[in-house]
Amino acid sequence: MSVSKSQMLMLKLQLLHEHSLHRGQLKVAQCLCDELGFLASPVSGVDMDLKIEASLRHARTLLAAKQFSKAAAVAQSLFCMCYKFNLHVQNANVLLLLAEIHKKSGNAVLGLPYALACLSFCQSFNLDLLKASATLTLAELWLSLGASHAKRALTLTHSALPMILGHGGLELRARAYITEAKCYLSDPCFSVSENPDVVLDPLGQASEDLQLIEYHELAAEAFYLMSIIYDKLGKSNEREEAAASFRTHITALEDPQDETNEQYN
């Protein structure tokens, strides 16, 4: 019972961290992340899972705060630690994180090798879900390299979709939907007016999922895309609705209300 209690606590902290990252409450996220770190024993080489989890989350918090070089530094040192203790699964995770950092910092070309390295790790260790999310990151990287890569990105996204939809969390699923829609939208051969459902369907799904987890940043993106599509289709009512949702999420993101945070402590 006691073991499962501490595990529950760990899970709770992880969920809370995730949630505050989504809501943009970075200070809270950092506190939770530190708390998670304190759960681990101070002895070196013990509770490695916890320690790695904590610094992985630390790097992600830095990434959310757009401190790319700091985040990359944490991730690099984490990579060294994983390498030292032969933790391959965590290694793959760190590689994916590095790819994400480069993607967010706008250096898509630098991100590609990390994503590919993560993919090959996943392949040899049968980490199918991680592989699917690495594939998604790869697709996002290609897409950010320009519209000419949209077809390739779409193929990659589609290959990862069954896995992500079946086993991935809401955030991952929503990201996949948005990427799919973006691939279609940036493809010059695609016409929104011909089959709007191809893009509106995934975006609707994504916005639903994102509202559940209060991931303001991505939700705002989904609604932004939706309102542009509705605008193109000439459906002004729907456009206004999507735009209003976009505004609520953007304001929520820029002005994180910390008072709700009390309930967790």
Binding site: D128, L165, H167, Q205
Partner: protein, 774 residues
């Protein structure tokens, strides 16, 4: 094959042999991949012969076999039985692989077609889904054997099991569909022959027709299917059936008689393009779902085997111990056996009945026997769980998860009816089953341990009562004995979990566990927090139910998407004959290219050939009709024509057609008998090949008026068939149907009325020795 002086003639079709048969053959089909001939005799035995007529195996399915066909890869033979069952048999030994009974009407015809278009490595590649199960799980468990049933030959069944397992591994198969036609007009489609995916009744197809200058809908009544053929790209199905076409009663206005009835041989063209358009999705779903079906069978058998074994052991135990309560009442006491045991344990006293029971009626050896029975049963149950039930439940849960992943991809899978909510529910149930199995394992091991503790104590008591040394014995835990007497002596928690008849039994769960289950919901646990109160058997039943519901959706969705595209009266008949020689096939037309989603291919042209039987020859006479291009009608409608191509061949006088078969490259093989009709069986017969594509086809327009028989337009342009001028060979016996022709192997088997089988190689000619000697 030029002859120098015209004396030496060449006889087409090399005769391989002419062998006697034990009994008449009703049906025969060549294996599409190997030179093997499957035959069904009059007494419903199924035989498989090699090309050299060596018999490989014979089976008798017990019921009347009404149709047969091969799987396109030639590794399995499908038999349609009179009760509507379709059974699949291994080509190697005839072992029953699968039996499907989804419609209870005799199977008249079977057609198994494989998708011909190879998957290219182009853009379609990303959907080629990998079955991940073998990477994460050991081979799927098999159905546990019922104890006490000794199989005849252990080694043999093992082989059968292997092919059974191999059969369910459909990932390396190409997409194929088995279509079965039943007597009541139902057509059933199943992917890989095991996963039913659609159903349509031709009686429900409504055909637009003009009756007395008004447009109305007509339906077919009292029809029975004769033959079906799926096109090689799986997007069309040709159905021929006998029946009466009448006005749909819902369309009839008051006071009007629905007297317009067209009885005869009809032909439907069904649009099954959903199979072609959604083949990858269907392939993946069928693969997962059919595997889950097999595993459900394993789990069900495991539960019933365990239930049987455990109840047997418990009845032995109760049989022995029930005599104690009789002894107690004989001694005039009104206490229960548990109370007596308790007082013995706590050292209060040893009452005479318990003394008598332990020392005389049970005794040391009897006690040891019961103890052994119970512990053996416990061990057996544990083995069944470990080797069968648990792995099956794990793989079911995994595969359900894959299906759930598909169902969430709305854009792609909603089209085939995979529903997210239903699939979610089924996946959750599968997860619960896994937890239930885990709990059952715990309950079982604790019960087994309690029993052994109780028996250890009893043994010690018996030794003491008999004043024998008891220090060598194992020690026991007296607290556990008390618990045993209180909770297990006359209750059976193991049986409660297993017995389906007690499925509504409610299991008490303590508050703390309930609380934790509820807490887990927030972390993504099962939404139904009450699942621990159900029994294992109940959970299994619920899982089955929700799975059936989830896969029932694709079934009904696909069924709705199969629609009647075209209807044609082939020949009007006053009485329905028992047998009409008919053959349906699709040929690739190399001169016309069409583009598919993944590349180019040749246009498929459908051919229907049949004989107009004698009694309706008032108009035309004894003719063989060859029709083609029914599938391509639509293409021509756009060009302003609603017509198909047909040719009529009149059979020479003094002959009648016994059977015909469409052969490769638009050729048609005819089997003619000398004589007036089927009752007249004397004289010779002819086997001949016509090049159908070279016949003078003429276009006829399809009428929209009822009672119009389109083929009548060709009355004046009947082509007279001359045996001498065609590629034909005399058969020195009168012959009977069937004619078995293999397009892929180029062989034909003809059955003579005098119980003989003759096999010809159609591609090779034979030097006529008799003409040599002349």
């Amino acid at each position: 094959m030029e002859s120098d002086d015209g004396v030496q003639r060449v006889i087409p079709f090399q005769l391989q042999f002419d062998k006697p048969l034990a009994s008449h053959v009703r049906m025969a089909e060549w294996n599409p991949e190997k030179d093997l001939l499957a035959m069904v005799t009059e007494d419903s035995k199924v035989m498989l012969h090699r090309f050299n007529w060596q018999r490989l195996w014979t089976i008798s399915p017990g019921k009347n076999v009404s149709s047969l066909c091969w799987r396109p890869d030639g590794k399995a033979l499908a038999l349609g039985l009179e009760d509507g069952t379709v059974t699949l048999h291994d080509v190697e030994n005839g072992k029953l692989l699968r039996s499907l009974n989804s419609h209870a009407a005799s199977v008249v015809c079977l057609n198994w077609e494989e998708d011909v278009h190879l998957q290219t490595n182009g853009c379609g590649n990303y959907l080629s889904f990998e079955d991940r199960t073998p990477r994460f799980f050991p081979p799927a468990p098999r159905v546990p054997r019922m104890p006490g049933l000794v199989s005849g030959d252990a080694g043999f069944t093992e082989d059968g099991q292997d092919s059974f397992m191999e059969f369910s591994n459909s990932s390396n198969q190409r997409f194929n569909i088995l279509c079965s036609g039943h007597t009541d007009g139902t057509l059933l489609f199943s992917i890989f022959g095991i996963f039913p995916v659609g159903k349509i009744n031709i009686h429900s197809c409504r055909v637009p027709y003009v009756v007395q200058n008004t447009q109305t809908m007509c339906r077919l009544l009292n029809s029975s299917i004769v033959k079906v053929a799926l096109s090689k790209d799986l997007s069309h199905l040709t159905v021929t059936c006998h029946g009466e076409l009448v006005e749909d009663s819902t369309e009839l206005r008051d006071g009007q008689m629905g007297g317009h009835c067209m009885r005869g041989l009809h032909c439907f063209l069904l649009d099954t393009s959903i199979f072609q358009k959604r083949k990858k999705e269907l392939h993946q779903v069928a693969q997962q779902a059919s595997n889950i079906d097999d595993l459900r069978e394993v789990a069900r058998a495991s539960i019933s085997v365990m239930n049987k074994q455990w109840s047997d052991a418990m009845s032995t135990f109760h049989e022995k111990f029930n005599s104690l309560s009789n002894l107690i009442s004989d001694h005039g006491l009104d206490s229960s056996p548990q109370e007596e045991f308790l007082s013995l344990l706590l050292g209060a006293r040893t009452s005479p009945p318990i003394h008598q029971f332990l020392v005389n009626s049970l005794g040391e050896s009897g006690m040891k026997r019961v103890s052994k029975v119970v512990s053996n049963a416990g061990k057996e149950l544990q083995l069944v769980v470990l080797n069968h039930l648990q792995p099956a439940a794990e793989i079911i849960a995994f595969r359900m998860g894959e299906l759930r992943g598909f169902s969430r991809w709305h854009a792609r899978y909603q089209g085939i009816g995979l529903d997210e909510a239903l699939m979610d529910c089924a996946a959750e149930k599968a997860g619960m089953l896994l937890v239930q199995v885990e709990r059952f394992m715990r309950v079982l091991s604790s019960v087994v341990q309690q029993f052994s503790n109780f028996f250890t104590w009893l043994l010690k008591c018996i030794k003491m009562l008999m004043s024998e040394p008891s220090d060598q014995l194992l020690s026991y835990n007296s607290e556990l004995v008390v618990v045993f007497l209180k909770f297990l002596y006359d209750q059976d928690p193991v049986k409660q979990l297993l017995d389906t008849s007690e499925a509504d039994h409610h299991i008490g769960i303590d508050m703390e566990t309930k609380q934790r289950v509820r807490e887990l919901i927030q972390f993504g646990g099962f939404l139904d927090a009450e699942f621990l109160e159900r029994t294992l058997a109940k959970e299994f039943l619920q899982m089955e139910l929700s799975f059936k519901e989830a896969v029932g959706m694709p079934f009904s969705t696909i069924s709705k998407k199969i629609i009647c595209e075209k209807f044609l009266l082939l020949s009007p008949l006053t009485t329905l004959p028992s047998y009409v020689p008919i053959s349906l096939s699709y040929y690739e037309d190399p001169s016309r290219k069409v583009s598919f989603s993944n590349g180019q291919g040749n246009l498929l042209v459908d051919y229907i050939s049949f004989q107009i039987s004698d009694d309706d020859s008032a108009y035309i006479g004894k003719c063989i009709v060859i029709l083609r291009g029914l599938t391509n009608v639509h293409e021509r409608i756009n060009m302003g024509e609603n017509s198909i191509e047909a040719v009529l061949l009149s059979v020479p006088d003094g002959y009648y057609c016994v059977d015909l078969s469409l052969y490769k490259e638009s050729q048609i093989v005819l089997l003619l008998n000398e004589g007036k009709d089927t009752s007249d069986s004397s004289g010779n017969a002819y086997l001949m090949i016509l090049q159908a594509s070279e016949l003078p086809f003429s276009q006829i327009s399809i009428s929209s008026h009822i009672n119009d028989w389109e083929l009548h337009q060709l009355k004046d342009s009947i082509l007279h068939l001359k045996i001498e001028s065609e590629k034909a060979r005399t058969i020195p016996h009168p012959v009977i149907s069937p004619l078995a022709v293999s397009a892929s192997r180029g062989v034909a088997c003809v059955f003579a009325a005098k119980k003989r089988a003759l096999v010809y190689i159609l591609d090779e000619d034979e030097e006529d020795e008799s003409s040599d000697s002349e």
